[in-house]
Amino acid sequence: MSEPLADKGLAAVAPSLRLPSAWHLLPWALALLFYFTAGGYLSLGTHVLIMILFALSLDLALGQAGIITLGHAALFGFGAYAAGIFAAHLSNDPLLGLAVATVLTGLFGALVGMLILHTAGVTLMMLTLAISALLAEIANQAHGLTGGDDGLQVGRMAPLFGLFRFDLWGHTAYLYVLAVLFLWSLVAWRIMRSPFGRSLDGIRQNPRRMRAIGTPVWRRLVVAYGLSAAMAGTAGALEAQTTRAVGLGALSVLASGTVLVMLILGGTRRYYGAFLGASVYVVVQNFAAQIDPFRWMFIIGILLMAVVLFLENGLMGLADVVRRALLAVQRRSGG
């Protein structure tokens, strides 16, 4: 089957976006398989899916558009608190809460973006840190709304579509999150392959070049950041709705650092990097939770250093290397 012209250019730089179609179904098939076989680990699986969405949102901002943010958890937390507060005071319909949280976080992200995306590099990094810290402080102090240090307890969500109860074992929750992830991942896919996504990639590589062809850089970045925020907000809202609790940790620098590790581990701009990185991280962390937190920090630190020094494109990059090696072997033995 001949390669469509449009795909060839992309193939040179983002191999996973060019896999034969059947492979793209694999993660979803695995996710469904997990549903039926998970047993007691279903809620862990739900958490993995939420983290994938979170990491994917970061990939849009950071991997694609090059917006280096050390405070992405601020958006996750914003969505989480928005959904939690909405459920507590207005309505516990999950879809309505999800929509509201998503839109609000997206708007918040766009506003913040308008403010800070004139800057770049270290200044931008610090602005994202400062805003994240500011938001955490607000959450801490607004006891009435957020529960402050104690966190927010979220009541049981109303049945989905009025039909599917959120049961104690998390069946509905899992499929709910999976469906939302699926929808957002389609959007992300479209965005990354579109002219818009390419222009973001261009901005990441060389903003000067993009200005020289007339790209309104700041405007594009604001839109990208707003979309990324909306996505992160959805992830936060899902977390609030499925775990029924929101705490200050959701907004913390540690949380921002964690999602960064997940994405870098999996590989930025590899689309499935977010999937792989988040899955591996959450699963490993869960089973290593017995180890004391500082030894865990040591492992994360070493992982980060190793990935940066040796595995520039994360695990997906490693997969590329393996694939190329296999192809080379195949060619040699076949030809």
């Binding site: 449009a6 060839k8 250019g9 002219p195 818009f196 990639d201 020289a212 007339g214 309104p216 850089v217």
Partner: protein, 254 residues
């Protein structure tokens, strides 16, 4: 010199810029008619690239009146000026190194046609951009490299790509910053030929140190020294001008 306003692609009056005590542009006046071929020369540090940066808006001017096709662009951002028809190439390759050659041009075309913000229903538009990009590349003789990434390209072809992208924007004014810089002389003729073939609709201002190229290409030469226009005129006049010789061409000039 009588200049008909309608035919003046770029009109610059009183362009000034200083950094504290250092003045890099002093009351510069330039006119580019449609189809102009102007060479901008001057010793190192004269402020030639600075002038281009001031014209594109990359560097904000202290004072200026810049008219592009009769419209004032002095207050516009660099991106906005590009969209009004002012394109440039860079002295040092400023390309999307991780992207393919064709995509580099296609993205510029998408931007030009206003479809670069699209993230729904874009397949056909993008296909058109790619096709046109391929044509642009073919015209400049780098069509064969379309699917290679920029990083894989030899330096001369990268310089060509800079020009291809600028041309793809269909500018009315093109500012070339040392298009043949760094290109080995045996490959430079390709760039020279390409410049000869530029459309007569475009007004071109070219900064160059390669005197052969300047004298072959330009119908008018402007000499810039320490931010001031020293003199301007036809190539033959400039070559014979003792002031220019002293300041720039040196005693052993041909």
């Amino acid at each position: 010199m009588i200049t008909a306003m309608a035919d003046t692609a770029l009109s610059v009056r009183g362009l000034c810029k200083s950094f504290g005590a250092l003045s890099v542009a002093q009351a510069i006046n330039i006119d580019l008619l449609r189809g102009a071929r102007v060479g901008l020369i001057g010793p190192n540090g004269a402020g030639k690239t600075t002038l281009v940066n001031l014209l594109t808006g990359t560097l904000p001017a202290d004072a200026s009146s810049i008219l592009l096709n009769g419209n004032a662009i002095g207050g516009l951002t660099p991106e906005a000026r590009v969209r009004r028809g002012l394109a440039r190439t860079h002295q040092i390759n400023t390309l999307l190194n991780e992207t393919t050659v064709r995509d580099n041009v296609a993205i510029a075309i998408a931007e030009r046609d206003g479809i670069a913000w699209r993230f729904l229903r874009f397949r056909r538009c993008w296909r058109t951009c790619l096709d046109e990009a391929q044509e642009r590349l073919n015209e400049l003789g780098i069509g064969h490299a379309a699917e290679r990434t920029v990083a894989e390209l030899p330096y001369g072809e990268q310089r060509m790509l800079e020009i291809a992208i600028a041309l793809a924007l269909r500018p009315s004014v093109l500012l070339l910053d040392e298009p043949a810089a760094g290109v080995p002389s045996r490959e430079a003729h390709v760039i020279h030929d390409a410049l000869d073939r530029l459309s007569s609709d475009i007004a071109v201002l070219m900064i160059e140190h390669d005197m052969d190229l300047v004298f072959r290409f330009a119908r008018e030469i402007v000499v810039l020294v320490q931010g001031r226009v020293l003199t301007r005129g036809a190539p033959a006049e400039i070559a014979a001008d003792p002031q220019v010789r002293a300041v720039y061409l040196g005693r052993s000039a041909a």
